[in-house]
């Protein structure tokens, strides 16, 4: 009958038994001929195996390995672009960055669609300034022409100078001056663009110059010849056509 401890011979020969187990097995071997014989055989076999000539590695083995790795590294598309935009961070930190960016986006969106009072005020100022500047903007042009139309209508409807106050007339003159200034700016910016529009603005300029040039500020009201000039040139009709 085979000894139950015979498989321990291998562990003993290969030094895999603990110190205590090794001593116990050593004692066991003294009294177990089967294990003793196996032990001798395995030790002898171990010596034979140790005498085996191992094949030497080829000379260029390491160099070939390194070359192949370099080549594969070149062929492989390293995720450099990804790392450039999103540096490698610890997962927790990555989430923190994502959350911060998300809330920054929310804040920006709120700022754009629900601007605070100070920003709205600034926006109105910018809008007023823009009324003079973007001549190619139809909305701004329409707004300008509407203002001119209103002004000219006011001027031409003042048929009874006796009914006007001096203050009221001065206000009209001031408005006309501002409108003339605005008209000149617009005319300069129109340049070689829309010739028809340029012509219209030029006509408005002449009329406004006439209003201011022929007006005796001491006498309230528009002189009849100027009012006639507005009507003769059919300026109001042209403006109305352009707006509509």
């Amino acid at each position: 009958m085979a000894c139950k401890q015979r498989e321990n011979v291998v562990s003993f020969v290969l030094g895999e038994l603990s110190h205590q187990n090794s001593e116990q097995f050593h004692e066991h071997v003294k009294h177990c001929p089967e294990c003793r014989q196996l032990l001798e055989e395995f030790e002898e076999t171990g010596k034979i195996l140790a005498s085996r000539t191992l094949p030497g590695a080829p000379d260029g083995l390491v160099g070939d390995c390194l070359l192949r790795i370099r080549k594969a590294g070149r062929d492989r598309k390293a995720p450099k672009v990804e790392r450039f935009f999103l540096p490698r961070l610890r997962p927790g930190l990555q989430w923190a960055v994502i959350i911060v960016v998300f809330f920054m986006g929310l804040g920006l969106g709120k700022l754009l669609f629900q601007p605070p009072a100070w920003l709205e005020r600034y926006g109105r100022l910018a809008q007023n300034r823009a009324a003079f500047l973007p001549i190619d903007d139809n909305r701004a042009m329409r707004s300008y022409l509407l203002s001119v139309e209103m002004l000219l209508l006011d001027l031409s409807n003042m048929d009874d100078p006796a009914l006007l106050d001096d203050d009221e007339w001065e206000t009209e003159i001031q408005i006309t001056q501002e409108m003339l200034q605005r008209t000149r700016q617009i005319k300069n910016r129109l340049g070689d663009g829309d010739r028809r529009l340029y012509q219209l603005v030029a006509e408005i300029e002449w009329v406004l110059e006439d209003v201011l040039g022929t007006t005796n500020l001491d006498v309230a009201g528009l002189p009849p010849d100027v009012r006639r000039a507005i009507d003769d040139q059919q300026l109001l009709t042209k403006i109305h056509e352009y707006i509509s």
Binding site: V13, T45, K47, I48, S51, T53, P55, R76
Partner: protein, 184 residues
């Protein structure tokens, strides 16, 4: 030695090519010998050694340090060797029951090996008579100094199974090499 390996591995995981080069220089000869013992074809063993390090390089980030780096690397090499043997077996469409037939078919000539003296033919023949797991257990233990637990990790079996493989392998080798006396 193990600590140095771990240091190089950590550096390689951070992208240091120099650190990985050091690992290649250290382990390439050992991996070559293992693969040569598995497939017995000198040129193919060279090629598979390169393949092993390439795969290790690509997957170095997956090494978590649960086992020693050497064990991890040996496992890669062993799997590559097994795949190669499977492919070759299908290619030749032959059931290799006789190692001599197999070696003859594959053009094996041991005399071409560096360091060949002819003295070890009996040992080679005896080793080839072992089953594959038995031979691997012997090779990994005697020529690579791995412990049974590590061999079990590489072969995918328990430590007890490795002990059984070794026990049977040594008994078989003893029978085959009864009349062999090493020249010292």
């Amino acid at each position: 030695m193990g600590q140095r390996d771990e240091k190089w591995v950590r550096q390689a995981q951070k992208g240091s090519k120099k650190a990985f080069d050091k690992l290649v220089r250290k382990y390439a000869p050992l991996i070559f010998r293992l693969l040569y013992d598995m497939i017995r074809r000198y040129e193919d063993a060279q090629d598979l050694t390169q393949e092993t390090f390439l795969r290790a390089y690509v997957n170095i980030g997956q090494y978590r340090g649960d086992a020693k780096f050497a064990t991890w690397l040996y496992r890669i090499a062993y799997n590559i060797g097994i795949d190669f043997k499977r492919r070759k077996s299908k290619m030749f469409d032959v059931e290799f029951t006789s190692q001599e037939q197999k070696l003859a078919l594959q053009g094996f000539d041991g005399s071409k090996l560096p360091g060949y003296t002819g003295e070890g033919e009996a040992i080679e023949a005896a080793l080839q008579k072992l089953t594959h797991p038995q031979r691997m257990a012997v090779v990994l233990n005697y020529y690579h100094g791995l412990r049974m637990r590590e061999i079990g990790d590489i072969l995918g079996c328990s430590e007890a199974t490795v002990r059984t493989h070794l026990f049977r392998a040594l008994r078989r080798l003893r029978r085959e090499l009864k009349n062999y006396s090493p020249r010292v």
